[in-house]
């Protein structure tokens, strides 16, 4: 194994890891604020991909141009889903919550298949097509732009959570719903906001992925599994944790693929995940 291959592999691992991080950030936020695991999160990403695709196919608008629109649409979708469904299961037993979001996952996949057929679709010749040569290694421009986009969105979410009043209110609700309510914070509004932002992050990931990843109704399946791992490793509810864990998982995945063959890359991630859980059930960054 030459140094070039190693550097090449590591950089592509970091780039895909940034996307994993972005998907996982939405998931960890929803979990952190209201203790619900959203199995339909990969489907939010899928919807973001289709939004980019159709805006491109029908109106010839570039995915990079329409990214803000995609994010807004997914934000609205997340809020709507909260108001229609999730709101009713806040105090339900954990199993009911799991089955509600699991049902949503199957439902959204089914709807996508119904409306848009199970075909693989892709966006050709977007603004970011092509590759960039950096010395001996070569990276796809869509992947680089997607990675950069993921960093920007992550920083945005982080600043929103830690520098604004809304963010503080969200954190307060996550820490103690009743106490926050006594301070005049409407918890339903906060939960809706968490779902909106969570879905918007997944939508952003979908929009960024759409320039180089096949688009099909079940595309979320791989990402949700990885996102669970990232959320676990980063610590439930931690945005910064999800960011670093996402990059780490991306790197583990490509290295596993390089060493054992691409068919085992997900298995390697899962084995590492179980091994970490064994020694640190609270995640890599969490305190015991």
């Amino acid at each position: 194994m030459t140094a070039e291959i190693l550097v090449q592999t590591l950089s592509s691992g970091v780039l895909i890891g940034l996307i994993y991080a972005l998907v996982a950030i939405g998931l960890t936020m929803i979990f952190g604020v209201m203790d619900i695991v959203n199995f339909a999160h990969g489907e939010f990403m899928m919807l973001g991909m289709y939004a980019s695709f159709w805006l491109f196919a029908l109106f010839a608008l570039d995915p990079m141009l329409t990214l803000p629109l995609t994010v807004l649409m997914l934000f609205a979708f997340g809020v709507l889903l909260y108001k229609l469904v999730i709101r009713r299961i806040i105090d339900a037993p954990m199993v009911s919550q799991i089955f509600t979001t699991f049902g949503l996952m199957i439902l959204l996949r089914g709807v996508a298949q119904f409306l848009w057929k199970p075909d693989f679709r892709s966006i050709e010749n977007s603004w970011v097509s092509g590759a960039v040569k950096l010395g001996a290694i070569q990276l796809g421009r869509p992947q680089l732009v997607a990675g950069a986009g993921a960093i920007v969105v992550t920083i945005g979410v982080y600043l929103f959570l830690h520098r604004t009043k809304w963010g503080a209110a969200l954190e307060a609700t996550a820490a103690d719903k009743e106490a926050a309510q006594l301070m005049g914070i409407d918890s339903h509004r906060m939960f809706a906001l968490a779902w909106g932002i969570g879905a918007a992050c997944a939508g952003a990931a979908g929009g960024l992925l759409s320039t180089f990843f096949p688009i099909f109704p079940e595309v979320g399946a791989n990402f949700i599994l990885i996102a669970f791992v990232v959320v676990n490793l980063g610590g439930f509810g931690s945005v910064a944790g999800a960011f670093w864990a996402g990059i780490l998982v991306g790197v583990i995945e490509v290295m596993g693929g390089l060493l054992l063959g691409p068919q085992y890359k997900t298995a390697v991630v899962l084995v590492v995940f179980l091994a970490v859980l064994m020694f640190r059930p609270q995640g890599l960054r969490g305190k015991a």
Partner: protein, 329 residues
């Protein structure tokens, strides 16, 4: 005998005789599917209901059962009845590793770790040449009859499925009545209190898991013999794991007959949507199925039995109230 004992005997007699009454092969197949789903739900309930550990990775045990009996049959000519027991034993053995890696986790963490374990098993079988890889394994029809558990008609499959369900229910009944059942409920409701009176929590969770894995694997071997074809997608998928838990939860978690009620409801919904809407080829059946799951999870979180119990309790309360009013007059 008490009234409930007579009732149970009558239900059992009716269940045994059903294949003589139900002539239509597709109806009989629906009954078999209900029995299979019920058996898996009852097996899942041993861990999920009694010990309160929500596993979303039980397809691993089901697949181990299916693959063990099939590989033994194809490569060594081992009789499927023996293969089934071997599959159960293999799954119980695997469950020790499963429990060792997952039991220190709680709630969501546990559920996700179980998904990860099952996913790893699926990836291994998808790439393992000896196990048929992604192509799967086919059981030849050359030997048929009771000795080889291969039949041209459906009826024997029905009785075997019923037998498996009864065996799993019997195991549940035994667990429920002996000290293990009490310990498990204590662990589920008050883990700290259970530990403080000296219950070895890990050990009893593991017992529940091993039993659950054993019976789930029997179901897997049976599936292989019934379909005569297995591949990772049909016996190891996450969707299958979810379905097992869904059957138990829909029926009413932690009650012996809950999963049976859940299996009747879920399988009927599944098959009706498939036959009514499945022809379109556009996944309409999936959409309706998913919408119903959401509706049930949102509106009936205690399951079918919980809902029935609530109704019965309300009716009894009304009656008691009526009787009191009557007495006061």
């Amino acid at each position: 005998m008490s009234r409930t004992a007579w009732l149970r005997l009558a239900v059992l007699a009716a269940a045994l005789a059903a294949p003589f009454v139900v002539a239509d092969a597709s109806h009989l197949n629906l009954l078999i599917l209900v029995l299979m789903a019920a058996q898996l739900g009852v097996a899942w309930n041993l861990l999920g209901g009694y010990a309160g550990q929500v596993s979303l990775g039980h397809a691993a045990f089901y697949g181990i059962g299916a693959y063990t009996s099939t590989l033994l049959l194809l490569n060594f000519g081992v009789n499927p009845w023996l293969g089934m027991l071997a599959g159960g034993a293999a799954a119980a053995l695997l469950s020790v590793a499963f429990g060792w890696s997952c039991f220190r986790l709680k709630g969501h963490y546990f559920a996700m770790a179980t998904i990860a374990v099952a996913e790893i098993v699926q990836i291994v079988f998808t790439n393992w040449e000896y196990g048929g890889a992604a192509v799967g394994l086919t059981i030849p029809m050359s030997h048929d009859g009771w000795a080889w558990m291969v039949f041209a008609e459906k009826r024997p499959y029905y009785w075997i499925a019923l037998g498996l369900l009864l065996a799993t229910l019997a195991a549940t009944a035994i667990v429920e009545r002996c000290h293990i059942g009490y310990y498990l409920r204590a662990i589920k409701d008050e883990p700290d209190a259970a530990r403080s009176i000296g219950i070895d929590i890990k050990r009893y969770k593991q017992i529940a898991l091993s039993l659950s894995a054993f019976f789930t694997a029997l179901g897997g071997s049976f599936y292989a013999q019934k379909e005569l074809y297995i591949d990772p997608g049909s016996v190891l998928s996450t969707a299958l794991s979810i379905k097992m838990s869904l059957v138990a939860i829909l029926g009413g978690i932690g009650a012996m007959f809950g999963p049976v009620a859940g299996a009747v409801v879920l399988t009927t919904i599944e098959e009706i949507t498939r036959s009514v809407f499945g022809g379109s080829g556009r996944g309409t059946d999936t959409i309706i199925y998913a919408a119903l799951i959401i509706a049930i999870a949102v509106f009936y979180p205690t399951g079918v039995l919980g809902w029935l119990r609530g109704r019965i309790a309300r009716r009894n309360a009304r009656r008691a109230h009526g009787a009191r009013v009557e007495a006061l007059r």
